[in-house]
Point group: C2
Chain length 195, copies 2
C-alpha cells in the first residue's frame, strides 16, 4: 500500500479512498481500484512517482457520475469553448472533471490534473503520468474486450505502444458506433499512431 507524504494533497490515501468511493457506484469504484493497481504496476516498470500515480488513478473518474448540469455550469462559469458543449459526459468527466478534483479534493498538481483531463482522449503531448493513467484505464484487469490481451502485452513492451493501441482501438470503436469524435482524439492519433 502506498503511503501519502502530503506532497500532493493533505489527505491520507484512506481519506482519498473514502471521498472517491462516496462519489460513485461500488462497481465503478472497483474499476478505479483496478486502475490504481495497474497504474502502479506501470509506474514501477516505467519509473514514475508511485504516490502521484496512486492519486491520479484514484481520482481519474471522480466526476464520472455527476449530472450533466454540473459540467454545463462549470463550462459556463470557466468560459470553456462552446464547442465542448456539443459533447457529453464521456468527454466532460475528464476534461472538465479535473476542475472538481482540484476544487473539491484540493489537488493542484498540474501533472495529476492533466492525467485526469486526458485519460479518455489522450493528447498530442503527454507526460509519463498522463500516459500511465490513459493506458491503465484501458487495460486494468477487469477489462474484457477483444484485443485487451494484446493491449496489455504492448503496454508492457512500452508505454508508447500502449498509448498508440488504445488510441487506434478507441477510434475504431467510435467509428463502428458512428459516435461523435472529439477533435483532441485525432490530435492524439496523429501524434501517437499515424506514421
Amino acid at each position: 500500500m502506498i503511503q501519502y507524504t502530503g506532497k500532493y494533497l493533505k489527505d491520507s490515501r484512506d481519506d482519498l479512498f473514502y471521498k472517491v468511493s462516496k462519489k460513485m457506484s461500488s462497481s465503478r469504484f472497483q474499476h478505479v481500484l483496478r486502475v490504481e493497481e495497474m497504474a502502479l504496476k506501470l509506474a514501477r516498470i516505467y519509473h514514475e512517482d508511485l504516490e502521484k500515480t496512486s492519486i491520479a488513478a484514484l481520482v481519474h473518474d471522480y466526476a464520472k457520475e455527476r449530472p450533466d448540469h454540473d459540467f454545463i455550469c462549470q463550462m459556463t462559469k470557466k468560459n470553456y469553448s462552446p464547442e465542448l458543449l456539443k459533447y457529453h459526459n464521456q468527454i466532460w468527466h475528464g476534461t472538465v472533471g479535473a476542475d472538481f478534483v482540484s476544487e473539491e479534493l484540493g489537488i493542484n498538481d498540474e501533472d495529476i490534473l492533466n492525467a485526469v483531463r486526458t485519460h479518455t482522449t489522450g493528447a498530442a503531448q503527454m507526460s509519463k503520468l498522463m500516459q500511465i493513467i490513459y493506458v491503465a484505464d484501458f487495460i486494468e484487469e477487469g477489462r474484457k474486450f477483444p484485443g485487451v490481451e494484446e493491449a496489455r502485452r504492448r503496454s508492457f513492451e512500452s508505454l508508447e505502444k500502449g498509448v498508440a493501441f488504445k488510441t487506434k482501438h478507441t477510434l475504431e470503436y467510435l467509428l463502428s458506433r458512428q459516435a461523435l469524435i472529439y477533435p483532441q482524439t485525432i490530435e492524439t492519433y496523429n501524434a501517437w499512431v499515424a506514421k
Copy 2:
C-alpha cells in the same frame, strides 16, 4: 455534352478540357472525365446547375500532379496555417489546389472553388455542388473498392447518405493504414456521420 455559357469562365468546355488534360497523366484525366460523368448524373437527380457541375468536376484534380514545392510556396505566400504543412499532396491538391484553379484557369466562383477545396476532406457545411463533387469522386464508374456498389446505391438514395458513406469509409481506410487524419475530416464525420 454541356455547353458553357461564359457565366463561370471565359473558356469553352473544349478549352478547359484541353488545359486540364495538359496537367496530368492520361489515366488521371480519364478519372476526371468519369467524375464529370457521375457528377452530371447526380446533378440531374438532385437539381444542380449542370455547367457549374461540369466545371467543378473537370478541375477538381487540376493540381493533383504538381510537385510539393508548388504547394509549399503557395501556402507560405498566402499565409496558410503552418499546421497544413504537416500534410501532403493528398490534402493539398484540394485545399490549396483551388488557388491554382482560380489563378491559372480564371475560375472565381466560390462554390466551384469550395467544391475543389473540400473534394477529399469534405466539410461540416457543404453546398449541393460540394456534396456532388465529393461523392462523384468516390463512386465514379472506374472505382473498384469493396463497398463501391453500396456507396453508389446510397448516393442515389440521397446525397447526404453518399457523403456519410464516403466519410466513414475514408476514415476507416486511414485508420487501417495508420495514416494522418486531417482535422477537417473529423469535422465532416461529426457533422454527417455521427449520431
